[in-house]
C-alpha cells in the first residue's frame, strides 16, 4: 500500500476543487448550483463572498498539498532517515496563530461597509426621515403574509391591502420592507436580492434593496420553522412603477368586491 494513502488524501482536495469549479462554471450536471441571478445594483455581498472564497480556497489548497507532501515524503516504506520530532516549535506556533489572526482582523474590517449598508444605512426621504416601508411581510407557518399600507401610506388602517405570498415592488426605487413573524422564527430570504434576515415574533425589522431588473423571483424561508418549512415560498415581482401602481389598485379593488351575481358564479 504505502504511498497509496497519500494519493487518496490528495484526491480529496483535488475532487473538492474540481466539483467547486464545475458548479461555478455551471457545467452539466451541476447547473444552477452557483449564485442565482442578481437583480439589485449593490454587489457588495457577492464581492465579500468571493474575497472570502479566495482566502479560504488558497488555505484549503495549501493545506491539502502540504498534507500530501508530508505523507508522500515520510512514508514508512520509502523513508530511510531517522525520525524527526518537530513538536513544540515556538516559531511555527506563533506563525500559525498570527497569520490567521491578521486575516480575520482584515475580514472584520473589510466587511464593515457591507454590513452598514445592509443594516444601518436605511434609505432616507428628502426631509431626512427614514423611508417608510412599502409593505409589511409577516412570516407565518407556512406562508408569507403581505400587507400594503394603501392610499394613506399608513399600516393597520382600513384601506390596507392584504395578500398572501404575493409581493410586488417597483423597479429602480429604494424599497424598504418591514418584516416580522407571527408564530415562530422564520428567515426572510430573497436569493436574487442577496437579502436574508431572520424574523422574530414580536420584533419589527427593516430590510432594504434597490431592484434593477424586472421579473418574478422567489421569497423563501431560510430558517427551519416546522414541518412545512420547505414549502414556505412566496413570489416577489419587480415591475415598472406604472405596472406596480396598476397592480396595487387592482388588488385593492379585488379586496373591496361588493357585489356578486349568479353570472359570476358560473
Amino acid at each position: 500500500m504505502g504511498r497509496f494513502w497519500s494519493l487518496v488524501f490528495l484526491s480529496i482536495p483535488i475532487l473538492g476543487v474540481a466539483i467547486f469549479i464545475w458548479s461555478a462554471m455551471g457545467w452539466y450536471p451541476l447547473e444552477g448550483h452557483w449564485f442565482p441571478e442578481r437583480v439589485v445594483a449593490n454587489s457588495s455581498i457577492d464581492h465579500l463572498f468571493y474575497v472570502i472564497l479566495a482566502l479560504t480556497g488558497i488555505v484549503f489548497i495549501g493545506t491539502g498539498l502540504l498534507m500530501f507532501w508530508f505523507l508522500w515524503k515520510y512514508d514508512g516504506k520509502h523513508h530511510e532517515g531517522p525520525v524527526f520530532y518537530s513538536h513544540g516549535s515556538h516559531y511555527l506556533e506563533v506563525l500559525w496563530s498570527v497569520i490567521p489572526a491578521i486575516l480575520l482582523l482584515f475580514l472584520a474590517i473589510y466587511q464593515m461597509d457591507a454590513w452598514a449598508g445592509a443594516r444601518m444605512r436605511r434609505p432616507m426621504l428628502e426631509n431626512g426621515q427614514p423611508k417608510p416601508p412599502i409593505a409589511r411581510v409577516t412570516g407565518r407557518q407556512f406562508e408569507w403574509k403581505i400587507q400594503y399600507p394603501g392610499a394613506d401610506q399608513k399600516l393597520d388602517t382600513a384601506d390596507d391591502i392584504y395578500l398572501v405570498n404575493e409581493l410586488h415592488v417597483p423597479r429602480d426605487e429604494e424599497i424598504v420592507l418591514e418584516i416580522t413573524a407571527e408564530d415562530v422564527l422564520h428567515s426572510f430570504f430573497l436569493p436574487n436580492f442577496r437579502e436574508k434576515q431572520d424574523v422574530v415574533p414580536g420584533m419589527k425589522q427593516y430590510v432594504w434593496f434597490k431592484p434593477v431588473k424586472d421579473g418574478k423571483f422567489d421569497i423563501v424561508c431560510a430558517e427551519l420553522c416546522g414541518w412545512g418549512h420547505y414549502k414556505m415560498k412566496g413570489q416577489i415581482t419587480v415591475e415598472s412603477r406604472s405596472d406596480y401602481d396598476a397592480w396595487l389598485k387592482k388588488a385593492y379593488d379585488d379586496q373591496e368586491l361588493s357585489e356578486f351575481t349568479l353570472a359570476e358564479a358560473e
Binding site: 443594516r119 406562508e143 420584533m203 419589527k204 368586491l257 361588493s258 357585489e259 356578486f260 351575481t261
Partner: protein
C-alpha cells in the same frame, strides 16, 4: 521499530456490508402497503350507540366498504362513479393528478398532489385526522360530512367550485390552513376536485350507513353477540320464520348493493347538489352608496340591538359574549354531547380528536378567516356559518347587512389587548 500499517483495502467485510445494505433496502422498500381509505368508524359507533345495536360485519359493514370501493376506487386508483352530471364535479384526469403516491409522470404531469400537500393534516380519507391534526387549533376540516364554512351558498348546500378553489389558493387566515397560491392553476384545480371527491365519498358512506344500520340483523348474528331483546326475539321464531327473515335480509342487502340503486338513489342526489351548487349562490346586491360615518353608526346599532351580534361576539366584539354556554361545532358534536360526556371515551379510542370549545370570533383582530372582501363578510352574515353556531341573519334587510359589514370591517378598532404593541426595535443602535 515496527509501525502498524492501516488494514488492507477490500476484503470480505466490505462485500458483507454491501449485501446487508441491499437486503435492508429491499425489505424496507417493498414492504409498504398501498394506502387504504378508512371506514367512518366514528359514524358507525354513533349509529350503534343511538340504535342500541352492534353492526354486523358481514351484512352491514362490508357491503358499505364494497360499494364505496366499487364507486370511488382506492386512494391510489380513483374511480369516477357513473352518475349523471358527475363530469360537472370532477374528472378522472384531475383526480389522478391529486391521488396516488407523490411523484410525476414521464411527461412531467404531477401525481399525488393530495399526499404532497394535504394529507398530513386532512388524512388519506379526508377525515381531518392526519398525523399533524392533533396539534392544530382549529382542527383541520373533515371533508366527509360535505359541510364547509367558507362559501357563497346557503347552509345545507355544497360550496361552489370557486369557493373551494379560493380557500386552497388563499388559505384560511388565523388557522393552520396555508395559502397554495403559487401552485399552477391546474394543480389547484386537481386538488379542488379531489376535495369534492373525498366529500362525495364521505357523504355516500354516511347515507349508506343510515340505510344499512336500519337492517335488523338479529337472526344472522352469532348467538353470543345478540342483545337480550334480540335473543328473546330469535327464540320466539320458528326455524321457517328464521329462514324467511334471513332471506329477506339477504335480498335487502342485495338490493342496496345493486350499483344501479346506489347510483340512482344515493349518489345522484348528492352529485346533483355539487354539480349545480353555483345555482344556489346567494347573490350579493350592490353595496348602496352611503357616507361611511353614518353607515358605521347604523351598523353599530344593528350590531348591538336588532342584529344580536353582541350576544356572542361580545360588547366589545372580542368574541367574549357567549361565555356561559359551551358551543362545539357540528364536526365535534357528532361524537361529543357536552351535556352527556360519558360516551366520549369510546369515540376517542376510535381516533376522534379531543373536543375543543368553539369560540365566537374576536372581531378586533382584523382577521377574517373566510376572506375580508365585503362580499365574504356579507355572505357570513346573510347565510351564517355552516357547522358553526353563527346563525343566518334572517331579521336583517340587505341594506342593514351592508351597514353591519361596514361596522365589522371598518368600525372596530384594532385592539391593543389582543394585539399588543410590538417591540419598536429599529436596526440602529443608539450610542450615547
Amino acid at each position: 521499530m515496527h509501525i502498524s500499517q492501516a488494514p488492507e483495502f477490500g476484503g470480505r467485510h466490505w462485500a458483507g456490508g454491501l449485501v446487508l445494505t441491499a437486503l435492508i433496502g429491499v425489505i424496507v422498500g417493498c414492504s409498504s402497503e398501498p394506502a387504504k381509505f378508512e371506514p367512518n368508524r366514528i359514524a358507525m359507533h354513533k349509529a350503534e350507540i343511538t340504535l342500541g345495536i352492534t353492526l354486523d360485519p358481514k351484512y352491514q359493514v362490508e357491503p358499505i366498504a364494497k360499494i364505496l370501493s366499487d364507486s370511488f376506487g382506492t386512494p391510489d386508483e380513483p374511480i369516477v362513479p357513473e352518475v349523471e352530471d358527475i363530469d360537472q364535479v370532477f374528472d378522472l384526469e384531475h383526480l389522478k393528478m391529486a391521488a396516488g403516491p407523490y411523484g410525476s409522470e414521464e411527461d412531467g404531469t404531477p401525481r399525488g398532489l393530495y399526499r404532497q400537500h394535504c394529507v398530513h393534516c386532512h388524512g388519506i380519507t379526508g377525515n381531518g385526522r392526519g398525523p399533524t391534526a392533533a396539534f392544530l387549533n382549529p382542527y383541520p376540516r373533515d371533508f366527509r360530512m360535505g359541510k364547509y364554512k367558507w362559501k357563497s351558498t346557503k347552509t345545507g348546500t355544497p360550496p361552489t367550485h370557486d369557493d373551494l378553489r379560493r380557500v386552497i389558493s388563499d388559505g384560511v387566515p388565523g388557522t393552520a390552513m396555508p395559502s397554495f397560491k403559487l401552485l399552477p392553476a391546474e394543480e389547484i384545480e386537481a386538488l379542488t376536485q379531489y376535495v369534492k371527491y373525498l366529500s362525495l365519498r364521505g357523504e355516500l358512506e354516511r347515507n349508506l350507513l343510515l340505510e344499512f344500520s336500519d337492517l335488523d340483523c338479529s337472526v344472522v348474528k352469532p348467538a353470543d353477540q345478540r342483545t337480550k331483546e334480540e335473543q328473546e326475539y330469535v327464540a320466539s321464531l320458528s326455524p321457517e320464520e328464521i329462514q324467511e327473515e334471513t332471506d329477506d335480509l339477504n335480498s335487502a342487502v342485495e338490493e342496496l348493493t345493486d350499483p344501479e340503486v346506489v347510483n340512482e338513489d344515493f349518489l345522484a342526489p348528492l352529485v346533483e347538489g355539487w354539480a349545480y351548487a353555483f345555482e344556489d349562490v346567494t347573490e350579493v346586491p350592490e353595496k348602496p352608496e352611503s357616507e361611511l360615518k353614518e353607515s358605521l353608526a347604523v351598523g353599530r346599532d344593528l350590531f348591538f340591538n336588532k342584529g344580536g351580534c353582541a350576544t356572542c361576539h361580545g360588547q366589545s366584539a372580542l368574541g367574549d359574549g357567549q361565555t356561559a354556554e359551551n358551543f362545539y361545532d357540528d364536526w365535534t358534536e357528532e361524537y361529543y354531547d357536552p351535556k352527556d360526556p360519558s360516551q366520549l371515551e369510546g369515540f376517542l379510542a376510535l381516533g376522534a380528536l379531543p373536543p375543543r370549545k368553539l369560540d365566537p370570533r374576536n372581531l378586533r383582530l382584523g382577521n377574517f378567516r373566510g376572506g375580508r372582501r365585503p362580499v365574504d363578510v356579507y355572505w357570513r352574515i346573510r347565510n351564517g356559518i355552516e357547522g358553526a353556531k353563527m346563525p343566518a341573519a334572517q331579521q336583517l334587510s340587505e341594506e342593514e347587512i351592508w351597514h353591519v359589514v361596514d361596522y365589522v370591517r371598518r368600525g372596530l378598532p384594532y385592539d391593543s389587548l389582543s394585539q399588543p404593541p410590538e417591540h419598536e426595535q429599529e436596526n440602529v443602535r443608539v450610542r450615547n
